[in-house]
């Protein structure tokens, strides 16, 4: 099954390599990986989607924690969370087809961001399913080019991630070990 991890890491050179290398080394397949800055300077946030079972997910979490630069790992798969992905799709569109495509774009709450005589570029944000749905209906027109960002995730509710407040200034700021459970 697909597991979604939110991983906070120190924003230092080589950290992405360490994380990516871990997946290769332990023979896990990354479905998608995104990384970017967070509200805290010095802390980057990754959303990693991996196809593995529950035991695999637990091991992966433990392995991620072994990387010195990893601050916090959350498996949000079983939690209430909002998932989003952004895609840009260039589709064949003659003058006659344009309005049909724009109707579809409307239905999916997507946007047309560029139009040329023979094609259109569509931007869509949503869950992976929604993007797959739009792609499916656009296939008949001819998808010329596509780019997807991969999934980003954030838990619902007021509770921020445990480690979002974890600073990078001292070892004491790390989440207390009591919050991490390895019960079987």
């Amino acid at each position: 099954m697909l597991n979604t991890f939110v991983v906070y890491v120190e924003d230092k050179p080589g950290v992405l390599t360490r994380v990516a290398s871990l997946f290769r080394r332990r023979a896990f397949n990354i479905d998608s990986l995104t990384v970017g800055r967070t509200e805290k300077p010095g802390v980057s946030r990754m959303t990693i989607v991996v196809d593995t079972d529950e035991t695999g997910a637990r091991r992966l979490e433990a392995h991620l924690y072994k990387l010195i630069n990893v601050l916090l790992v959350e498996n949000v798969t079983a939690e209430a969370a909002v998932y989003r992905e952004l895609a840009m799709i260039r589709v064949t569109a003659t003058a006659a087809q344009r309005s049909h495509i724009m109707d579809l774009v409307e239905v999916f709450r997507a946007k047309v961001v560029d139009v040329s005589p023979d094609s259109m570029m569509i931007e869509i944000t949503g869950t992976d399913d929604k993007i797959d749905g739009l792609l499916h209906v656009l296939e008949g027109y001819g998808v010329l080019e596509m780019v997807r960002t991969g999934r980003v995730a954030m838990r619902r509710g007021a509770k921020a991630a445990n480690g979002a407040s974890a600073g990078t200034d001292s070892a004491e700021a790390a989440p207390a070990s009591g919050t991490i459970s390895y019960s079987v």
């Binding site: 890491v9 091991r59 924690y65 070892a171 079987v184």
Partner: protein, 572 residues
């Protein structure tokens, strides 16, 4: 502390001194020359090795013998890549070493400059952590972090790659201000109260329990707690290869080594147990055999500091993630005295049916078996030597016939199985513990991989005795060929040099031993000689290690010593 202005090179030595380092094993070269130039102002003794792999094994042996951190140093490029095997060895066996490598100037990085190699990239999966330092002012903090990471939690190797310009430039040096900043590193985890309760319940209910004790006991210094726990609960203790010595071999509850070459009763007890208490071991394939049939009726408790080991190979019922010593102390508080008379009677009955001991009890017929040599070494040294073994048949015979009574009396490459480990590791061990009687037990194959370090031994006046178990083959590979490849001895016979002449060329006293009667006198003479001694024990060529569980076979399916061989040996 006042701030001082220092070069990066000086800071390296100052920091090592502050970390309590007395010895560094290394090999100079272009990119690390500034550091070597600054060595003249340091109290640290540098030991010049003959190959950088040797430096890492020496640091590893130093760490394992002392319980401290070993330090190795090398230059960029080939110097650094030569360290790779030693680093991987330390990683697999959780040995705390810090490797410092020189790197080309920071402006040259990425340009394929002379002797440039991406050593941090190369060692990423075989270090606990590594660093590339390009500025002198990062050095102090990095070195402090490296030592802290190497020795805390589950120990492991840390590599610091320092560019030449970082060594040459100067900055303010303030040790106190350079405290580690590791917000993501939590080496001290501890189990929850309900996990202790679950474990206690299983322990108190068990009728046929077995303790599986590993290297973690040694690392955590929990030997005393293990002894109390085993005695109070009356539970027999099986050991992993790296666990040998953490429980006294002569103890009535000692089972001995488990796994592929464990004695028959050990593996039988494990397979028939109703509870396995795994302490600081990782259910390696060499100890479990076929996972599907491994201790099928046993509940399992796993005490381990590394959460990534939980449920990796064997699914367990209770996991206690934390420092072994602390966890055992907690468990001891609630442990009620137990009796397992039937179970221990069964053990005594099984022990009577040992295949391995056959060869030990053979009449002294003059026929030289490796097991005889090891057994004689054990007897002559009264089991008190620090033995460093290489990898292969001799390693298993040592584990079977040298009975280790105390922790840190055996050093060997377990996880990675690195041939060539023993000689340099023994040098490191002797440097760490000059008072110890150190013996290298090594095969004729492995010895030739790193024998250049004999020169280091002589130059540094390190008194280590070397026992070559010379059977003219890559013995363990030959054994596999005998058992599983139809006796096709492809590429395993060795045409060896004259080891006696070789040792003498290095200035080392040496003798060859071909008869059983010569073994003890040769060992005695070596012990009495002031300098290092090398003994070439020319043993039975096609002997095998028994019992043996074939790779991936069920743990109780052992290949036993053919009785015909025992009889032949006895007849001679």
């Amino acid at each position: 502390m006042s701030k001082e202005r220092k070069t990066g090179a000086e800071i390296i030595w100052k920091c090592l001194e502050r970390e309590g380092v007395k010895h560094v094993f290394g090999y100079p070269g272009g990119a690390i020359l500034p550091a070597y130039d600054a060595l003249q102002h340091s109290s640290i003794h540098h030991i010049l090795v003959r190959h950088e792999q040797g430096a890492t094994h020496m640091a590893d042996g130093y760490a394992r013998a002392s319980g401290g951190v070993g330090v190795a140093m090398a230059t960029s490029g080939p110097g650094a890549t030569n360290m790779v095997t030693g680093i991987a060895t330390a990683m697999m066996d959780s040995s705390p070493i810090v490797c410092i490598t020189g790197q080309v100037g920071s402006k040259l990085i990425g340009s394929d400059a002379f002797q440039e190699t991406d050593i941090t990239g190369i060692t990423l999966p075989i270090t606990k952590h590594n660093y590339l330092v390009t500025h002198a002012d990062e050095l102090a903090r990095t070195i402090r972090e490296a030592f802290y990471i190497a020795k805390s939690g589950r120990p492991g190797p840390v590599l610091i790659d320092v560019t030449k310009d970082a060594q040459q430039s100067s900055c303010e040096f303030d040790w106190e201000a350079a405290a580690p900043q590791l917000p993501g590193y939590r080496p001290d985890l501890s189990p929850k109260p309900d996990e202790y309760e679950q474990a206690m319940e299983l322990i108190h209910q068990a009728k046929r329990p077995v303790i599986l004790a590993g290297h973690g006991i040694l690392v955590s210094g929990a030997g005393g707690e293990l002894l109390r726990f085993a005695e109070q609960a009356q539970i027999p203790v099986a050991l992993t290869l790296l666990g040998l010595g953490v429980f006294p071999a002569s103890h009535a509850l000692n089972l001995g080594m488990m796994g592929m070459h464990g004695e028959a009763w050990v593996n039988t007890m494990i397979q028939e147990a109703d509870l396995l208490i795994a302490l600081g071991m990782r259910f390696d394939d060499r100890v479990t055999g076929n996972l599907k049939t491994y201790a099928r009726n046993a509940k399992k408790i796993h005490v381990e500091i590394d959460p990534a080991e939980i449920n990796k190979n064997v699914r367990v019922d209770v996991a206690l993630v934390g420092d072994l010593r602390q966890v055992l102390q907690e468990l001891l508080e609630d442990l009620e005295p137990c009796q397992h008379r039937e179970w221990l009677d069964y053990l005594r009955k099984l022990k009577g049916d040992s295949a391995v001991r056959d060869i030990q009890n053979l009449p002294d017929s003059g026929h030289l078996y490796a097991a005889h040599v090891i057994n004689d070494l054990w007897r002559t040294t009264q089991g008190k030597a620090l033995v460093v073994t290489d990898v292969g048949q001799h390693q298993m015979w040592e584990a079977q016939y040298y009975h280790h009574e105390s922790p840190r009396s055996l050093i060997t490459s377990g996880g990675l199985g690195t041939m060539g480990f023993a000689l340099p590791a023994a040098i490191g061990a002797k440097v760490a513990r000059p008072e110890a009687e150190v013996w290298v037990v090594v095969g004729d194959g492995g010895f030739q991989m790193t024998m250049a370090e004999l020169a280091t031994m002589v130059q540094e006046k390190v008194k280590v005795n070397v026992a070559i178990i010379n059977n003219g083959y890559l013995g363990m590979v030959r054994q596999w060929q005998e058992f599983f490849y139809d006796r096709n001895y492809e590429s395993t016979p060795l045409l060896n040099p004259d080891f006696v002449k070789l040792a003498e060329a290095f200035g080392i006293r040496s003798t060859a031993v071909k008869q059983r009667a010569e073994v003890v006198p040769a060992i005695q003479a070596a012990r009495q000689h002031e300098g290092p001694v090398l003994i070439d024990f020319q043993v039975e060529q096609e002997d095998s290690v028994y019992p043996m569980v074939a790779a991936g076979a069920d743990l109780h399916q052992m290949i036993r010593r053919p009785s015909v061989l025992v009889e032949t040996a006895a007849d001679e």
